[in-house]
């Protein structure tokens, strides 16, 4: 579904992503794990078109999306839920969701809205509330809901557990699992490696811009090196 081949991304002269290749198959949850600064978010931003990829290729459903404007990538069915949630704080919950359906026809967006409210009853309760007044967990739900509004076939989630209480982290991951079961392919970037690997099918471990190992999630969970480095022994 998504095929990333040997991409290099730079911030000015800093070589942040060094020749990374990975792929995501339909129906999978794939996770990229690694420490701060390993290049996880950079990779997602490059796939979403927010960052320029200097060399390499990115293919989504057989089509190259390298150099495509971000708004066009969204309409191809590849949505991203950005790091730090990035909701529109001044808008109401419903307005935020409506923005998420921006690339779709009104009717389709209305249907998406109903689906999102079905999945997140909490958001429906708070639909009129200003998004900035939501709790962290609700904001994360809103950010995921907003990304779902474009009905993506592949959803990229950048650090969905960031800054959330453990109980909320569990909730968010349960939602991710549910989303996947209902047919959305997911590419997940996480610092909470244990959580990410527990829901994922496959994982890639990143270190300073390179992939150092890749395997099925259960293998990585039991891998000694990975355990030591990312799972706290």
């Amino acid at each position: 579904m998504l095929k990333v081949n040997d991409i290099n991304v730079y911030y000015g002269s800093i070589h942040a992503v060094k020749g990374i290749s990975f792929d995501v198959n339909k129906g999978e949850i794939v996770t990229l794990i690694g420490a701060n600064g390993a290049g996880k978010s950079t990779i997602l931003n490059s796939v979403a078109g927010l960052l320029k990829t200097r060399t390499g290729s990115i293919e989504f459903e057989g089509q190259s999306i390298l150099g495509t404007a971000p708004h066009l990538i969204v309409s191809k069915g590849l949505a991203m839920c950005p790091e730090g949630r990035r909701i529109f704080l001044q808008m109401s919950v419903e307005e935020n969701l409506e923005m998420g359906g921006y690339t779709r026809k009104n009717q389709e967006a209305e249907q998406s809205l109903i689906n999102v409210y079905d999945r997140f009853p909490r958001l429906k309760e708070r639909r009129k509330q200003q998004a900035g007044t939501l709790s962290g967990g609700e904001q994360q739900m809103l950010a995921i809901g907003r990304a779902l509004m474009s009905r993506p076939s592949l959803l990229m989630l950048d650090e969905p557990s960031m800054g959330l209480a453990p109980i909320l982290v569990d909730q968010i991951f349960a939602i991710i699992k549910e989303l996947n079961e209902s047919g959305t392919t997911i590419l997940l970037v996480e610092q909470n490696a244990r959580m990410a690997l527990s829901v994922a099918d496959r994982g890639y471990v990143l270190e300073t811009g390179r992939i150092v190992s890749s395997a099925s999630a259960s293998v990585l969970l039991n891998d000694d090196a990975v355990r030591k480095a990312y799972l706290g022994g």
């Binding site: 971000p70 969204v74 949505a79 529109f88 409506e98 923005m99 690339t103 639909r127 509330q129 007044t133």
Partner: protein, 359 residues
């Protein structure tokens, strides 16, 4: 159902704004007829209208798009001189003054929009302070270009020179429309208060409808959170350019109206100070607040006339206000404070918990 309610709310707010302008216009008309308006104030009416349009249009860039432009007077200048040239050239072809004014303003607005595209495409890649610097430079460049521009009109049409009025080689009976640093002279003053009123209404119609439209929501989303806007599929470039160009076009219209109200107009009139003046209107009226812009523009244009001594301190006040604004906009703490206060006010007035729960 919710949509209808929301529409009503925004429509009500727009109607109040329209009503305010109409009321103001009626009062002015009554005062003019009964002779209660001093001649100096009467002379200020068209400039007030032009400045209101300037302030509302700049608010589109600063408040709705969220980008600081310091060259708004540049677009006004383009509209002004294009308007004067068109009006003078068509003096014989279109005898009807209001029609000629409309045509001149339209050309001024379109030309300003074209320049808006040319400047906007490269400049809008920049953000914040850098965009402000580029727009400031643009304003200065326009001023200096018009300062060396000589335009003449005779039976063979328009002629243009960068050297001197003589180099135009005009025929007998030809007219120098734009005389370099001397500016445009001998303009027939065809602007009227009614035209100004119509222009304000048209401007409000465009800006308020844009704000409440799908595109307007996209523009505000770009302002509130660029990355989020991009990630939900909004074309940043398109909507930034849309707001910037509409803003430029409206400034061009205002410029034409303004210039055709005077018999002489020089390029220096539309310098950095004018851009700042308009920005002060916007800031004082409230960034993003259209009604505020109208009131601030009207009051601050009239005030120096009413209080001559205040005039001396005007530049001092601008300086102080601008410094305060810069401190406020660059300070996270103050920004958060303002956000929190507005949030609190919003919650108190809008978000009655009883209403929010019903679904």
């Amino acid at each position: 159902m919710k949509k209808v309610k929301k529409l009503r709310k925004s429509t009500r707010s727009s109607l109040i704004t329209y009503g305010l302008v109409i009321l103001f216009f009626v009062i002015v008309q009554v005062m003019m007829i009964t002779g209660n308006l001093s001649s100096s104030l009467r002379g200020q009416l068209v400039p007030i209208a032009a400045y209101i349009v300037m302030a509302v249009s700049l608010n589109l860039t600063v408040g709705i798009l969220g980008e600081l432009s310091l060259g708004h007077a540049g677009f006004m200048s383009i509209g002004a001189f294009a308007g004067v040239i068109v009006s003078t050239s068509l003096e014989n072809q279109i005898a009807n003054a209001p029609l000629r004014l409309a045509v001149s303003m339209l050309v001024g607005g379109i030309l300003a929009a074209v320049v808006g595209v040319i400047v906007g495409v490269p400049a809008l890649r920049l953000r914040g302070d850098y965009l402000a610097i580029v727009t400031l430079a643009f304003g200065e460049i326009i001023k200096n270009v018009i300062n060396i521009l000589y335009v003449g009109y005779d039976s063979s049409g328009l002629s243009l020179s960068l050297k001197s009025a003589n180099a135009l080689g005009l025929e007998e009976g030809g007219k120098v429309v734009l005389n370099g640093p001397m500016g445009a002279v001998g303009i027939s003053r065809i602007s009227t208060v009614t035209a100004g009123f119509v222009l304000i209404i048209v401007t409000l119609f465009i800006v308020l409808n844009l704000m409440h439209s799908r595109s307007g929501r996209a523009i505000m989303a770009v302002r509130d959170n660029r990355i989020a806007a991009e990630s939900v599929g909004i074309s940043i470039t398109k909507y930034k350019l849309m707001a910037f160009v509409i803003s430029a076009a409206l400034a061009g219209l205002a410029g034409s109206l303004y210039a055709l109200n005077f018999s002489t107009v020089v390029a220096k009139k539309f310098d950095f100070n004018t851009s700042i003046l308009v920005l002060v209107f916007v800031v004082l009226g409230g960034i993003g607040n259209i009604r505020g812009s109208i009131i601030a523009a009207a009051v601050l244009t009239v005030l120096p006339e009413l209080l001559r001594q205040f005039n001396d301190y005007r530049m001092l006040l601008y300086a102080i206000i601008l410094i305060l604004v810069m401190i406020a906009t660059n300070n996270e703490k103050i920004k958060n404070l303002i956000n929190r206060v507005t949030l609190m006010l919003d919650l108190k007035t809008k978000n009655d918990p009883k209403k929010g729960g019903a679904a």
